[in-house]
């Protein structure tokens, strides 16, 4: 039993480290922008991703490396090309751990009340 608890706690700790990486990767607006670009078109090369962005090639490469370490971006090689794919699994895990858990009726009732009251005060 103790061994099991120990493995369980260890697993939880490693999962925390993984999630730290995801939150840190998401904390940067340039990296979020790269994820948005992949959401619009999945499987882009470095050059495609850079197109129209005011970022150096080196900066984009570094941001992509961090996103890959956080497992938010998966890379596949096709010949000489390296294609980047948005990996939604960690984002889903954030949703399951940090959003769904708090999505309860009372909270949405409070939110509705706030929206209603604010709308009424706007109408005056």
């Amino acid at each position: 039993m103790q061994v099991f608890t120990c493995i369980f706690l260890q697993t939880q700790k490693v999962n925390m480290d993984e999630m730290d990486k995801v939150f840190k990767a998401l904390a940067d607006p340039s990296r979020r922008r790269l994820l948005d670009r992949l959401h619009v078109k999945n499987g882009q090369s470095l050059n495609e991703l850079r197109d129209g962005l005011e970022m150096t090639r080196q900066a984009v490469t570094q941001h992509l490396a961090l996103l890959e370490q956080a497992n938010l971006v998966a890379v596949q090689r096709k010949g000489r090309e390296k294609l980047h794919f948005l990996n939604p699994v960690p984002v889903y895990e954030i949703y399951a751990r940090w959003i769904r858990k708090f999505e309860q009726q009372p909270l949405s009732a409070l939110h509705d009340l706030k929206v209603n009251l604010e709308r009424k005060s706007d109408e005056k």
């Binding site: 697993t11 993984e18 999945n42 499987g43 497992n71 596949q76 939604p88 699994v89 889903y92 895990e93």
Partner: protein, 153 residues
């Protein structure tokens, strides 16, 4: 990437061994636990028919095992069977790859079809993160994180 291909890639790292993960992916009673009660029917060898059934027995998707190389890779030729507009898109390919790294196994699921803006790939994209997250949780802690699917498909 060619413009007439829709490909989504899902990656998760699971603290287990390739053999355990392989067995989890190919044992119907285990699959049921992380795949929201869905049942897989196949003989698990290259060329054998493959079916994914809803808990009530209706066929959700069908096709065949296109490649089978334990414990590193298998490919399913996969067509939706219950939504006419998705069935009309024809066969997609879903590849499972297992790569052992330092104490973990990297599982990559690539689902693709030779078609631009595929509705099928879009439809299953909500499901894969939940299924993989459930599988990880089940193998690492013995419990599925979620018993029923959230959202569509």
């Amino acid at each position: 990437m060619k413009n007439d291909v829709t490909r989504f890639v899902y990656v998760t790292f699971i603290r287990t061994t390739p053999d355990r993960l392989w067995s989890a992916l190919t044992t119907p009673t285990f699959v049921k636990q992380f795949w929201f009660g869905m049942t897989i029917e196949t003989e698990w060898k290259a060329g054998s028919p493959w079916k994914l059934l809803f808990p009530d027995g209706r066929v959700a998707d069908a096709g065949e095992i296109a490649a089978f190389d334990p414990p590193t890779r298998f490919v399913i030729k996969w067509r939706n069977e219950w939504k006419p507009e998705l069935k009309a898109e024809g066969f997609s390919h879903c590849t499972f790859e297992l790569e052992p790294l330092d104490g973990v196994v990297k599982l990559t699921v690539t689902h693709e079809i030779e078609l631009a803006d595929s509705k099928l790939i879009q439809a299953v994209s909500g499901g894969w993160p939940q299924i993989l997250s459930n599988l990880k949780s089940l193998l690492e802690t013995g419990e599925a994180a979620l018993k029923s699917s959230v959202g569509k498909h």
